[in-house]
């Protein structure tokens, strides 16, 4: 076969593979990915009310929400940390011990200083409601439920 026709078939075939495997990856939550073929489903679902897990870190000034940063906290603004916290929270509520250990260890090692004490809290909330609460002073509301408490290894 001529080089140009081979190339044309190669390009078409590769585009089809990207499309088909990408769409099939939609069936593989939560990542929706058959690496490196991705469904490109980022920001596809508009967030409504959903389960959210927060981490409260004990500091000398009192408990601080993880994303605000402070003593003992590393990578407060990292979206990877956010995802690990959600996985840690889900593992704690489902009672999957192996999963819990994996995510707890990763969170403590990557995002906390050794010896830092923390609590994981759960709440079902709408992002716009939470946003407005933040605008009104940023205090964590009373309907939070503790699902896990731990301390980063020294």
């Amino acid at each position: 076969m001529r080089a140009d026709r081979r190339m044309l078939l190669g390009v078409t075939g590769f585009a089809l593979v990207i499309f088909v495997l990408g769409e099939l990856a939609l069936l593989r939550p939560p990542s929706h990915e058959i690496f490196p073929f991705y469904s490109w489903s980022m920001f596809a679902l508009v967030p409504g009310e959903k389960d959210q897990f927060y981490v409260l870190v004990d500091t000398p000034e009192g408990p601080v929400e993880f994303t605000r940063g402070g003593p003992g906290i590393r990578g407060a603004h990292s979206v990877v940390a956010y995802n690990v916290i959600q996985k840690l929270g889900r593992a704690a509520t489902s009672g999957d011990r192996a999963d819990l250990d994996t995510w707890r260890e990763q969170f403590e090692r990557t995002n906390l200083e050794p010896g830092t004490r923390y609590r994981v809290l759960h709440r079902r909330v709408d992002p716009l409601t939470r946003w407005r609460e933040e605008r009104l002073g940023g205090k964590l509301p009373a309907d939070l439920m503790e699902v896990w408490a731990g301390e980063a290894a020294r």
Binding site: A3, L8, F14, P36, V46, P47, T67, P127, W131
Partner: protein, 335 residues
């Protein structure tokens, strides 16, 4: 065999709308696209090399990683000394992409670049969350491996030059396909959420919700993000415009009038994502500029009318509005 070419030709014609190519000398057109490919392929490797250079200051931190959820391309790290294995990946990423930029004609260099990007990106994403800023570069590096030997020789045979031209258009296709897939999933998810009575893409506050959710996840604050959350009347149309651009991005491969406006629109979309949600895809922005704004060079003179005619959906509406007029004009003659 012939049915396959027929199918491809029909698909290309359908996607191309009214665009039938330049009434130019075909050999001169081919030379022009080949020349562009000879510049743009090393430039695309240059973007990957630049990404590898940006990783240099972080080598020490990456080498220190231990507890990882390894993705399949880097599973082998479990059976070798971790630090040395990671060092090998970082060196391959840097040297492979650099070599492919300097020697794009060498398949060995292109394979090294592809492996370097694949392994580095798999390693970087073995931390519990997969990021996507280097995915398009990775897909392009896989595609470019299949370029024939001697593709960039100036005095190459016609089939070889054509293959290089297909490679350049293929890069546009692969890149814009990822945007169209993103648009398609958003529309699909929007219909699903609408039908199930949830907040959806078709609500004016869809962008406000995305921005609020993202800023809360990272504890960040952006003035533009806050403004759009509070003003959904502006955020909604912006969101729908972005989804339109994404969904129909693939059309720009076949309709050159759309390429510069879509490049500008999609780069604008990435910049807006940064200024509202602190998310940026820097490689994509540069690749959009290279592959669409510079592109194949086969482009008619840009006019607003020509652009509107080629816009997916808009052209269709224009054609539908024009049809009754034509029918009216035609009827007395037939009558």
């Amino acid at each position: 065999m012939s049915w396959r070419w027929g199918l491809l030709r029909r698909f290309r014609r359908r996607m191309a709308g009214s665009w039938r190519g330049l009434s130019d000398n075909p050999m001169r057109s081919l030379d022009r696209v080949h020349q562009r490919a000879s510049v743009l392929v090393p430039a695309v490797y240059g973007v990957m090399f630049f990404s590898a250079l940006n990783v240099l200051p972080h080598w020490e931190g990456i080498l220190g990683r231990t507890q990882l959820q390894l993705l399949w391309p880097v599973m082998w790290l479990e059976w070798v000394p971790m630090r040395e294995g990671i060092l090998g990946i970082l060196v391959l990423f840097l040297v492979g992409t650099g070599a492919a930029m300097v020697f794009p004609g060498s398949r060995g260099a292109r394979v090294a670049a592809m492996l370097g990007v694949l392994l580095f990106w798999a390693l970087n994403n073995s931390t519990g969350k997969i990021g996507h800023s280097l995915h398009v570069s990775l897909l392009l590096s896989i595609l470019l491996v299949v370029l024939p030997s001697g593709w960039n020789a100036r005095d190459g045979a016609r089939p070889i030059k054509l293959a290089a031209a297909h490679g350049l258009v293929g890069m546009q296709l692969v890149m814009l396909l990822t945007y169209s897939m993103a648009g398609l999933v958003k529309v699909g998810a929007g219909i699903f959420q609408s039908v199930t009575g949830q907040a959806s893409l078709f609500h004016a506050d869809s962008l406000s919700r995305h921005i609020a959710d993202r800023l809360l996840q990272t504890g960040s604050h952006t003035p533009l993000g806050a403004f759009l959350i509070e003003n959904p009347w502006l955020g909604g149309p912006l969101m729908w415009g972005a989804v339109y651009l994404e969904l129909f991005a693939l059309w720009a491969v076949f309709r050159p009038q759309l390429q510069i406006p879509f490049a500008v629109g999609l780069i604008g979309f990435h910049l807006a994502s940064f200024f509202t949600m602190t998310i940026i895809f820097p490689q994509n922005c540069v690749l959009l500029g290279l592959l669409l704004a510079i592109g194949t060079g086969l482009r008619p003179r840009w006019t607003v009318g020509g652009f509107l005619r080629e816009l997916p959906g808009i052209g269709l509406i224009q054609a539908m509005l024009a049809r009754p007029k034509r029918a009216k004009l035609a009827s007395p003659r037939h009558g």
